[in-house]
């Protein structure tokens, strides 16, 4: 996109639809900011789009769904093709859809990653315990390539699986093994169970195997009813939960879809998602939050650089995503993030995002964009990703006292939060309650930290925050000076002169009698607040605290020629006062009294003997946010 030429309608459209590449979007935005002609067309385009979007929804005629179901039931059912070995009546089931493991189990991918990394490992397991049935079951499904046989031996179920290593299809392999957790004692069993995630299931005939993630060991495993997992026995597995029997009672784990599980897997990193009630509850239990504890979901902005590191004949491209920089080693997201090839089919292009707009994904929207949630420890997964820099948003779930990237959550309520980083404190208003979306509860609240680029080093972060603080303070100083100006002018109306300044001890500085047209310099006096309150409180120079006066905050510096004019000065980021009101200068031709003096700042008044002149350095952010100079205002 060239700055010189106007934007085409297609460029505007793709920009509006957030479909531009990250490299084109800024240029498009900049052009729209600069070119009124294009901006007009863009606005008009947007308006037409919005009108169509706002059209009312259609509604299906009454009885439509009933009719659809009836017509469906009149059709013959689909024939299953599972071979069942006699021994027990088996319900006939259709083949397991090929995509099921993909859609359900990002966690399975972890297993597969392990398989790729250790291609010669043969998996076999024995499960102790009963309850898995009395028969043999054998599945040799041509469609999915799944080969499984399950048979019960006295008091034990044995599963023999034949992972087809090196094959192209993930579905060809299945692994089941029991899970030893040496560290879990009966006393800590419930605590331990909270670290388990039920992330997906596969049906094998009548059996359901559960895909589990163990956050303690970061291991992924698959289990069946009757198996032991650490100190627990799996008593039941169905499509919605896994029930564990432990010494202190039963514990039920809800099924989390693979995507969500992966988010949790990556230790408190979740993407904004349609968290359902049970997931929210699960997060709560995972964090050890009490019912009344607010949970903050902090949205951070990141950029990750995607680099293709190698090509392998089997997997095509092997992609690897590496964040631009680690943030003090504390940022909890990936050091290596991988992209799952399946998700990229038909999505050859990187996801184009205009600046300031970030992908928000739901569980059901597993697109290439959701690569950024993939978890570091699972290391490399097969993937195709173009080289490039990808902006994305990371969500970190935290309670009061937790770390969120570089920040510490000092205080957290369902309306606001205070974060700290070094000497910096930030008060945040919550952007959104998850309750408002019908997901989660009103105590789960979203905070937007996307203003911070999170791939910066600690030093860069410190610098960025310091600059931000300076910018805030400059804005505050200017606003307070406006308020002071109004107060000074009100005072003038009542007293026909401006108030005299005070010294650092609060004592009024006076002009010697008979001396005329002398500018007096000191600080803003308290007579602006009492006895008549031209101001409710005297503001303090936000930069005053770093002057030579120690940590004591200073009032704004103030000079006046009482009958005529005034000057308010904030010392600026350098903390030193440089601007002063000149004493009355004898020259009346309007030129500067001395070289370097700043002539009159209010052009409409012209230069008169009674007008203030300032001399010294003036703060100008174009010299650098941190540059020398004072911020000031003159009047009237």
């Amino acid at each position: 996109m060239n700055e010189e030429r106007h934007l085409t309608l297609e460029e505007m459209m793709t920009y509006l639809d957030a479909e531009l590449t990250p490299s084109d979007a800024p240029r498009c935005r900049d052009h729209l900011l600069a070119c009124t002609q294009c901006a007009r067309v863009f606005e008009s385009l947007k308006r037409t789009v919005n009108k169509i979007v706002a059209l009312p929804e259609s509604e299906a005629p009454a009885g439509f769904a009933d009719e659809a179901v009836q017509r469906a039931l009149d059709e013959p059912a689909h024939a299953p093709d599972i071979e069942v070995i006699p021994g027990r009546a088996q319900a006939q089931r259709p083949p397991i859809p090929r995509w099921l493991p993909l859609a359900l189990a990002a966690g399975l991918l972890v297993v597969l990653a392990a398989l790729w990394l250790e291609p010669n490992r043969h998996q076999e397991m024995r499960l102790a315990g009963g309850g898995a049935g009395e028969s043999q079951l054998s599945i040799d499904d041509a469609t999915t390539g799944l080969k499984v046989s399950l048979s019960e031996i006295p008091h034990a179920t044995q599963a023999e699986l034949t992972p087809a290593l090196g094959g192209q299809n993930h579905e060809e392999s299945e692994i089941v093994w029991s899970h030893e957790v040496a560290s879990a004692t009966p006393e800590s069993a419930t605590e331990w169970a909270r670290q388990l995630v039920y992330s997906g299931f596969s049906r094998i005939g009548d059996y359901i195997t559960a895909q589990m993630l163990d956050l303690n060991s970061m291991q992924t495993f698959r289990t069946v009813a009757g198996a032991h997992i650490g100190p627990a026995t799996v008593t039941a597995i169905d499509e919605i939960s896994v029930t564990l029997l432990m010494i202190d009672g039963e514990f039920q784990l809800p099924l989390l879809t693979g995507d969500m599980a992966t988010r949790i897997f990556s230790h408190r990193v979740v993407l904004f998602s349609t968290m359902s009630g049970s997931e929210n509850e699960f997060i709560r239990s995972l964090l050890g939050a009490k019912d009344e504890d607010p949970i903050g979901v902090f949205m951070l902005r990141r950029e990750s650089t995607v680099k293709k590191v190698s090509d392998t004949p089997e997997n095509g491209h092997l992609g690897r995503v590496t964040p631009a920089a680690e943030l003090n080693g504390r940022l909890v997201t990936a050091s290596e993030i991988l992209v799952q090839e399946e998700f990229l089919k038909g999505h050859g292009e990187p996801i184009p995002l205009p600046p300031g707009i970030f992908p928000v994904f739901t569980i059901n929207d597993l697109t290439p964009g959701s690569w950024d949630v993939f978890e570091p420890l699972s290391s490399i997964r097969s993937g195709l990703m173009r080289d490039g820099v990808y902006p994305h948003v990371v969500m970190i779930v935290a309670l009061e006292g937790d770390q969120v990237g570089p920040f510490t959550v000092e205080r957290l309520s369902s309306a606001s939060a205070t974060l700290s980083f070094g000497r910096y404190r930030f008060d945040l208003e919550s952007s959104l309650s998850f309750d408002a979306l019908g997901v989660g509860d009103e105590k789960t609240v979203l905070f937007d930290l996307s203003q911070f680029q999170m791939d910066e080093t600690t030093a860069a972060m410190e610098e960025a925050l310091a600059e931000r603080e300076i910018r805030d303070n400059v804005a505050r100083a200017k606003a307070e000076m406006r308020t002071l100006a109004v107060a000074l002018e009100s005072y003038y109306i009542d007293h026909e002169s401006y108030p005299l300044p005070v010294d650092e001890y609060g004592v009024t500085i006076t002009t010697s009698e008979g001396e005329e047209l002398v500018a007096v310099t000191g600080y803003i006096p308290t007579c602006l607040t009492t006895p008549i309150a031209y101001l409710s409180t005297l503001p303090e120079d936000p930069f005053g605290g770093v002057t030579g006066q120690g940590t004591k905050r200073a009032r704004y510096r103030y000079s006046t020629s009482p009958a005529n004019s005034w000057l308010i000065v904030s010392v600026g980021p350098d903390g030193r006062a440089q601007v002063d009101m000149l004493d009355y200068v004898e020259r009346q031709d309007g030129g500067p009294a001395n070289q370097g003096d700043i002539p009159l700042l209010i052009p409409s008044l012209g230069i008169t003997p009674y007008s203030p002149r300032v001399s010294g350095w003036i703060y100008d952010p174009t010299n650098g946010i941190r540059s020398d100079g004072d911020i000031f205002r003159t009047g009237p």
Binding site: T8, L9, E10, M13, T14, D17, E19, R40, V41, E43, S44, L45, R47, T48, V49, K51, I52, V53, L55, E57, S58, E59, A60, P61, F64, A65, E67, A68, V69, R71, A72, L73, E75, A77, H78, R93, P94, P95, P97, R98, W99, L100, A103, L104, I240, S241, Q252, L253, P254, L255, T257, S276, G277, F282, S285, G346, E349, I363, N364, D365
Partner: protein
Amino acid sequence: MELAAERSDEALLVDVAEGHAEAFRELVGRYQDRVIGYLRRMAGEESARDLAQDTFLRVWQSAPGFRGDASAKTWIFRIATNAMRDRHRRKGIDPLALAVEPPAGGGESWEPVLVSPGNPFERLAELEQQQILEDAIAQLSAPLRAVLVLSLREGMTYAEIARTLGIAKGTVCSRKVAALAQLNRTLRFLENER
């Protein structure tokens, strides 16, 4: 711990594939308004209901073949599109084929419609505005209309629309721009008419 999270469309489709009528009913419930809305705009009020029934019957029949390489939404809308296509094809035409694609980049012009109290369109009652807009959409050629409706009414991305309609991703944008430009001309015509 509470159970039974709301199931994803894809998970429902697994059950539909297994012949669970309840899952199918749930899926129809989720999609019926949107599918009918799409088909109303594409094929007209009269055919919409029949086509939608056709669509869901095909969903029921084809569910075992759903591979999950597209979202359930894209898949269902692709079926709806094909149902509509097939009906026309019996008459020997593909309603969604364009003889000449709108030119990519710079082919369309856009005169901004004035937004002022004087603009007759803005002065109309909301219902009337909506009717005019619907009529203008109905006048678009089907290929342009399909892109516009899937994009602005269904919120699909270019990639999703490309999959649904079986066209190239680049074509999605040029068709959408052409559709909007044509709508804009209609609105401008109104502005000048009154």
